[in-house]
């Protein structure tokens, strides 16, 4: 489903990674591992289509990304370090806004349901008053309201507590069972049973 061939990235004349090739099918969890500064976030940004690689091609559903960009934009969801939440808006307003921007129409009732699932149902104030962990949950809520196929997540579990991690891992499992794809950069060790899983180890050039 997602294929990458001879991908390499160079920034400011520094090689970040080079000659990366892989092919992942539906239902795979791809973990991107590596020490700090090895380029995990950069790789995820290239996979999401935010950064252009120095060389190499990405393929989505068999077509090169350049030709398939609109379809890919609808079917992927990227969650970076900065969560992309407007601090002045409430969780509900944020989710409504970003879901519309991603091309999805969702009723407020469904949004409240998802927030409840994550234990955030009674939060009305602006997001700047929430803790980093709560903001992370709001950002993650977008994943299961918007049905994209490919999830590209940069350290999605860092600020979550144990209960939060459990809920989120459950959702990951369900997504993989439905035939979705997850790319994840993370330092944490946790178990997500998945039909296929593989790891990309960066930092060994």
């Amino acid at each position: 489903m997602f294929k990458v061939s001879a991908l390499s990235l160079e920034r400011n004349d520094q090689k970040i990674f080079s000659n990366l090739t892989f092919n992942v099918e539906a239902g795979t969890l791809v973990r991107v591992l590596g020490p700090n500064g090895s380029g995990k976030s950069s790789l995820l940004k290239v996979l999401a289509g935010l950064w252009t690689p120095s060389s190499g091609t990405l393929y989505w559903r068999g077509e090169p990304l350049a030709a398939n960009a609109p379809l890919f934009a609808l079917e992927r969801c990227y969650l970076g370090h900065q969560l992309g939440l407007q601090p002045a808006l409430s969780p509900l307003q944020n989710l409504t806004l970003w879901l519309q921007v991603s091309g999805v129409s969702v009723t407020p009732a469904k949004i409240r349901e998802a927030l409840e699932l994550l234990g955030l149902a009674d939060l009305e104030g602006p997001c700047e008053n929430l803790s980093r962990g709560e903001c992370q949950r709001v950002a993650l809520a977008m994943l299961w309201l918007n049905p994209p196929v490919c999830w590209i997540l940069d350290e999605p579990l860092t600020a979550l507590d144990r209960m939060g991690i459990e809920v989120v891992c459950e959702q990951f499992e369900m997504h993989l069972k439905k035939g979705g794809l997850i790319f994840m950069a993370t330092h944490q060790v946790f178990e997500i049973p998945s039909p296929q899983a593989f790891e990309i180890q960066l930092g060994e050039l």
């Binding site: 950064w51 407007q86 601090p87 519309q100 921007v101």
Partner: protein, 223 residues
Amino acid sequence: MRHAFWAVMRGDITRYIQRLSDCLIPFLFCLMVVSVFAISLGQNTALLAKVGPAIIWIAILLALVWSLEGILRMDYETGSLEKLVLSPHPLPLLLLAKLVAHWLMIGVPLLLLSPLLAFMLGLTNGEPWILGITLLLGIPLFSMIGALGAALSIGLPQGGVLLAILVLPWMLPVVLLGTRCVAAMSAGLSFKPELLLLLAMFVFLLALGPVAISVALKTSVSC
């Protein structure tokens, strides 16, 4: 696509409303700049009336551009710009929504403030009206040109001052046309040609501006 446009516009307007005090800052800035000029040149009413339009233009220009830069910088820091860039909807459309929200919440109050500023600088004989009409076209123009400059210099430590340097040469034709309009009116000549030229610039930038700004934003976000 329509829904995304309205959603972004609504989101931005809600932000401005939540931070109403921040919206007052451009307002106060213009009032202060014009007051300083009015007080320091107060005795020389003829001179004041002559340079009045240019002072009002520059004050409004700076207020608009700096407030827009603040909005874009906050979006960049919170990662909202990344989300906009990755959206399946065309980025120029979403940017236009942001610009329209900015015009409504900050541009229109400044436009309504301009008669007061004109009065403070002693403009008479229908000059405030002409100033208002040229500002009606000029404020969106300033917004778009300022947005292009802000998109290029987003996230840089030098921030506002670098932005002013980048944007000033592009603003010059608009300011010249606007002041010439007012000068023509006070000299009793027809101001239609200048106004039509401003309208032409407005239409041109409305078509190309969001596209150029989206290219600049993609450049800044992808690096």
